[in-house]
């Protein structure tokens, strides 16, 4: 029963939350950034609805899905977490690299993206200069996460059974 919960339900939850996290990350980067640019160029500008109604909701599910993904991932690794994160065992190298990439992305979400998005969206007060700086930091952290998501997902899907043997021998 313990294994059923940890490996069955835990992995399912890890993937469900991970799809929501990375899906919203891709929404921001592949859709919203360019949509906001186009909306800002309209006369009069038409992006207010996205800023007011869409972005805060998307960011809510984005940052909390990141928490659930990381916690469920840690639960699956359990007592083998040090084998993965410290690369102690050959079989745990791909998942260890994937986990480190996921942790860097998690740091970016909570330390770089969300605090700066709060300034951009007016949730916390900021001057125009602070907002411009916040926009650049949040943008680059978000783009960094898109870049890191690619090897992260590769290592996640390459980490077990026939997939690991096919890719790493």
């Amino acid at each position: 029963m313990g294994d059923f919960i940890v490996y069955g339900l835990g992995r399912w939850l890890h993937i469900l939350a991970g799809v929501m996290w990375i899906g919203l990350l891709y929404y921001f980067n592949f859709v919203q950034v360019d949509a906001m640019k186009a909306a800002a160029a309209d006369q009069p500008p038409t992006g207010a609805g996205i800023t007011k109604h869409v972005a805060p909701r998307a960011l809510f599910f984005f940052r909390w899905a990141a928490v659930v993904t990381v916690l469920a991932g840690a639960m699956i690794l359990g007592e083998r977490i040090d084998d993965a994160l410290l690369f102690k065992e050959r079989a745990y190298v791909p998942i260890g690299i994937g986990a480190w990439l996921g942790l860097i992305m998690f740091f970016n979400v909570w330390v770089l993206i969300w605090p700066n998005q709060k300034k951009i969206l007016g949730i916390v007060p900021a001057t125009d200069e602070e907002k411009a700086k916040a926009r650049r930091v949040a943008f680059l952290a978000s783009r960094t996460n898109v870049m890191l998501s690619m090897p992260m997902l590769f290592m996640m899907v390459a980490s077990g059974g026939i997939f690991r043997r096919a890719l790493f021998g």
């Binding site: 870049m147 090897p151 290592m155």
Partner: protein
């Protein structure tokens, strides 16, 4: 030099390159 992360496709290409680099790093860490 322009930051590749400023462009969406620059970001995707950077991700692909990093994937290849980390694949070979993982392979070597696993003993070839």
């Amino acid at each position: 030099m322009k930051n590749p992360l400023d462009s969406l496709w620059g970001t995707v290409i950077s991700g692909l390159v990093l994937t290849v680099v980390l694949y070979f790093l993982a392979k070597s860490m696993m003993g070839g």
